[in-house]
């Protein structure tokens, strides 16, 4: 199970890569999450430009057999959506921490209390 050490995680199986200046973050789902879901066939994110509170839904990921909500890890504004996933949703399976990124957000505040580090995430999934 791939759990990069330089990322932060949520209990909802998302990863967060906060930029060096602390202003923006990239968000996707973890390797564990994509394995649990199976073949991902559709990533629906229609919240570009919206301010969303941490814990609220920013989109939906659909595998062949299941549908799962995507939860905002932090308070922020969705400033970019990975448009490549429209044509290639399988990138989430193949490269969850790279080409499979989902959104870029502008952070609204410094509150990171919902995030856990890679070790905490590893113990959460029993890895």
């Amino acid at each position: 199970m791939n759990i990069p050490e330089d990322l932060k995680y949520t209990k909802d199986h998302e990863w967060v890569r906060i930029s060096e200046d602390g202003q923006t973050a990239l968000i996707g789902i973890t390797d564990f999450a994509q394995q649990e879901l199976g073949d991902i066939v559709y990533v629906e994110i229609e919240t570009e430009g919206e301010d969303i509170a941490g814990g609220e839904i920013f989109g939906t990921v659909e595998a062949v057999k299941t549908v799962s909500d995507l939860f905002m890890p932090l308070n922020g504004t969705v400033i970019e959506v990975n448009e490549d996933l429209e044509q290639s949703p399988e990138a989430v399976n193949e490269d969850p921490y790279g080409k499979g990124w989902m959104i870029k957000i502008q952070l609204q505040d410094a509150d990171q209390s919902n995030l856990i580090d890679h070790q905490q995430y590893a113990s959460l999934i029993g890895s």
Partner: protein
């Protein structure tokens, strides 16, 4: 409820299967990728362990009478070695279960029922048995492997002297398979890709499974989970009990008029006869998504003005078509082929078109 185990559960775990509870059994859902497994069956050959299915032996002078009275298809038409798709019908005309009836010989039938309905069916059959038939629940003693796909005959022929290519659809032979005697080799399946279903004594499950996997190596055979079994059957428009069929839906509503025979008497026949004459008010249809979205069970079906006209009973992405497909019940006046309908996905209507089944 205690989780039941099929004999080869550990074999599936060792093959890397994701296991999940289905109908009270811990079953392999997928081994690798559902899409890959699906395409393996469509293009080559796959093996499914569906040993959770139920089997009842019905024997004796009253066997045919009991089957005729409790099912809607006409089992008197069966020759020895022939199988038939049918339904158990309740007094309201609803479907208790869908099943296969195998005629082994006179007064000797095997019925194959859904795992989720074994207890319900068993109780019902015993209750209705005023015919003196002998009922034996063989479910725990029989394993069922489905070997499906265009290369199924080639894969299996090396393991039996039964001539598989000449085994017609919905017929079966009983013979020696992989050194195991009395295996029912049936040209049936739930994938629409052709192939066979093998009923064998549970104690020989590992031996037969291993032999098929060994033979299958040169044909690209893979183990296939229940996930792909569901997408394969949905593309072909085959009903799944609990989704598309229930105690509240009748065979006429489910598009199963072709197995509902009023030439004989059976439980619920009067209700169904009335429904046939008076017309049905809802009907099971298949559809494909026009706009992007994946239909799921229980999603509402709307008309153009947003009024509810039906409900999705099965839905998925189709691995073969690469779009969302589904089945559902819809008001008869909206059920025409090529009609435009809307599936309510996360509070948004998404356009779909009613299509003739099969969808693939």
């Amino acid at each position: 409820m205690e989780l039941k185990q099929i004999p080869l559960a550990q074999t599936h775990r060792e093959l890397g299967a994701r296991m999940a509870t289905f109908a009270g059994f811990e079953m392999p859902i997928r081994y690798t990728s559902l899409v890959e497994e699906h395409m393996t069956v469509r293009e080559r050959v796959g093996i499914f362990d569906v040993s959770h299915m139920g089997e009842f032996l019905i024997t004796g002078a009253g066997a045919l009478d009991l089957i005729q009275y409790t099912t809607c298809n006409d089992a008197s038409k069966l020759s020895d070695g022939q199988a038939q798709y049918s339904c158990f019908i309740n007094q309201q005309g609803g479907i208790i279960d869908d099943l296969l009836v195998y005629k082994i010989e006179q007064d000797h039938y095997l019925t194959v029922v859904n795992a989720s309905n074994i207890d319900k069916d068993w109780e019902w059959l015993n209750q209705q048995n005023a015919f003196g038939a002998t009922l034996t629940n063989l479910s725990p003693d029989i394993c069922l492997f489905a070997v499906q796909g265009p290369l199924a005959a080639k894969t299996l022929q090396g393991l039996t002297e039964v001539a598989l290519d000449s085994q017609k659809y919905y017929t079966f032979s009983i013979g020696t398979f992989a050194g195991v005697q009395d295996v029912i080799i049936s040209a049936t399946g739930y994938t629409g890709s052709g192939g066979y279903e093998l009923y064998l004594p549970a104690k020989h499950a590992a031996k037969v499974w291993d032999a098929i996997c060994e033979q299958g190596k040169s044909f690209g055979l893979k183990p296939i989970g229940l996930g792909a079994r569901d997408t394969l059957r949905l593309e072909k428009g085959y009903c799944l009990y609990g989704n598309d069929l229930s105690d509240e839906t009748t065979p006429l509503e489910a598009g199963l008029g072709w197995i509902t025979k009023f030439s004989k008497s059976f439980v619920g026949a009067d209700i169904l006869q009335g429904q046939k004459e008076g017309g049905i008010s809802k009907k099971l249809i298949g559809f494909t998504m026009e706009d992007r979205g994946i239909p799921r069970k229980d999603y509402r079906i709307l008309d153009r003005s947003g009024d509810e006209i039906g409900v999705v009973t099965s839905g998925s992405q189709s691995p073969c078509l690469g779009i969302g497909i589904g089945m559902g019940y819809i008001r008869i006046e909206n059920a025409g082929i090529d009609n435009e309908i809307f599936i309510e996905i996360r509070n948004k209507p998404v356009k779909a078109i009613i299509k003739k089944l099969p969808l693939v």
